[in-house]
Symmetry: C2
Subunit: 189 residues, 2 copies
DNA sequence: CGCGCGATTGAGTAATTTCAAATCTAGTGG
DNA sequence: CCACTAGATTTGAAATTACTCAATCGCGCG
């Protein structure tokens, strides 16, 4: 599990063993069972989470009790309520496990510490954020520009593994349509 | 105009005069008239742009010729086709001036150079990206969770200046509804 | 075998879009 | 200063699309 995380960083910047050990010392491991919560609405959020194994979803519950999925996370992805983490406000999102999960947690404090101590780690996170920023812009564009059907096909093409692991009603929520609508769209081929 | 940019950076990290001058030496100024293009679909994009003065929009033109606005930029904001800039692919967005504009342009090359030479500049950009990332997540959540009317009211509350400066049909495009729908929504009070 | 969850289907309703036309507004030139 | 025009906004009506609610279907697991 250290290997996965090390590769993840070294895809952007190489590390010596000493450096990696130092970084790794700032992380904690965490295991959660399917259906357990990682973050609940109202929580104080102090950690970001890297997924070693498993699958999670982060979602907002509206006033009618309906869930709107902001993101999924699988192996190699980070997940948290970033608004709550960065602004130090209570969580508005809920994050729970779709499967049993193994995570590495990194506190905001430790991330800032590592970033200020090691330029290359700050570089790593800047690169990750740059890619994430572009990804979110693309998602917004696809919400503005594409039909739900098109977004469904695009998601299927770009992340087929997701469809093997999460129920379609969650995909629907992520795409911004009801499960009934998605079911009808998926039938149209 | 140097002052605005310096304040912009120093809101995150303090600089010596020498440092600022060095950074500033990596920027170029650029002036564009209303309706001029900063980026056109298909362009090779090598610069990011900081707005000193004026107002711009970045949008995707769909196959029916309809424009979908990804972002606006006014004083103090950065704007580019980030997908094209980062991935070094042809621009899919068009960016043009809603008003006469004065910009500072920073090439990707110079940004990477400054980030690698000056840890504090890499820190600055990471902070900007972190905030931007959270902002985009919030926008996605509001597209999933809120009605167009609610998004209209939220945008009006958070950025009233925008409504003074850009036509409502562009606001509609940004919110993801037609101008007719926005007009009808805005009437409902 | 039956329960429970997920997926599908149907019917009626609500919301948004499209297309067309009318109205309003700000800037321009005479 | 006024008439004109282009762009922006509003309004109407029909068509489309997605939603809600309800019922049914299918399948894996105890």
């Amino acid at each position: 599990m250290q290997a996965l995380f090390r590769e993840h960083i070294e895809r952007i910047t190489p590390l010596t063993d000493t450096e990696f050990d130092y970084i790794y010392g700032h992380l904690k491991t965490k295991k959660l069972k399917k259906h357990q919560f990682l973050v609940q609405e109202g929580d104080r959020v102090i950690n970001d989470h890297f997924v070693i194994k498993g699958c999670l979803k982060a979602y907002l519950t509206d006033n009618k009790g309906k869930e709107h999925i902001l993101q999924f996370a699988m192996e190699d992805w980070w997940i948290s309520d970033y608004q709550a983490l960065i602004k130090e406000t209570p969580a508005t999102l809920t994050i729970d496990c779709i499967e049993d999960c193994e995570l590495l947690t990194l506190s905001l404090h430790n991330r800032e510490k590592l970033c200020s101590e090691m330029h290359k780690i700050e570089h790593f996170f800047r690169q990750k954020l740059t890619n994430g920023y572009v990804g979110l812009q693309q998602r917004i564009l696809s919400m503005l520009n594409n039909t739900a059907k098109e977004r469904y096909d695009m998601l299927l093409a770009s992340n087929p593994a997701l469809f093997q692991r999460v129920p379609k009603q969650l995909i629907a929520s992520y795409l911004g349509v009801t499960r009934e609508t998605l079911s009808r769209l998926a039938a149209t081929r």
